[in-house]
Symmetry: C2
Subunit: 120 residues, 2 copies
């Protein structure tokens, strides 16, 4: 049941068109990453700034509070990472999260049970 709730938060985060655009934009970015030797966690070293994300979304070179809000939602859902670099915030996708969603959906496709006789 815990997994269900975590997963629904991820899906919910992608459930807004603007956030889905941001996510796929970040997913498409190819950039060098740092790997933590202890945990193996991967975080982007460079990548789009918040301004660049805004730009991609709105087409204008202005940072909006709306995009900032959506970035926060994506971050809280664990779908993206953000790290300060000087005045900028560098955004990157959390590829593990995407992998988890894929795995979740794939499991469902694979595992089939015969009808349980529920409430009878």
């Amino acid at each position: 049941m815990y997994r269900n709730n975590e997963m629904s938060l991820m899906f919910k985060a992608l459930g807004d068109p603007t956030r889905l655009r941001i996510f796929t934009f970040l997913q498409a970015q190819c950039c060098p990453v740092a790997v933590e030797t202890e945990t193996g966690a991967v975080s982007p070293l460079t990548g789009p700034t918040v301004g660049e994300v805004c730009c991609h979304v709105t087409g204008e070179a202005v940072i909006t509070s709306t995009v900032s809000f959506h970035l926060k939602e994506l971050r809280l859902a664990g779908l993206i990472t953000m790290e300060r670099s000087g005045r900028h915030m560098i955004c990157g996708v959390n590829r593990d999260a995407a992998a988890q969603m894929i795995a979740f959906l794939n499991e469902g496709q694979a595992e089939r049970k015969t009808n349980d006789d529920c409430c009878k």
Copy 2:
């Protein structure tokens, strides 16, 4: 851009814990299907009724308007199918929709672009 909006509707539908439970429950059901010879579309011949879905979700043998509401949302997002069979409504997952979501996420993982110099 159209694809983005369609996809976000699917993710949104799975973005509620109750709906995600319903979806995975239906995904797990193994049942005979009918294949349309023209389109190749697959639809379940038998499967859980609305009452059985309710039962799985709430643990009680009562149909609630809430579950009915969530089933409708899933249906409108294209994630499940529902067909009347006598007094019952037979629910089934639309496996193609799940496949589409998986494909969408996978594409994002695969396709990487070098930074486009956006708004500069």
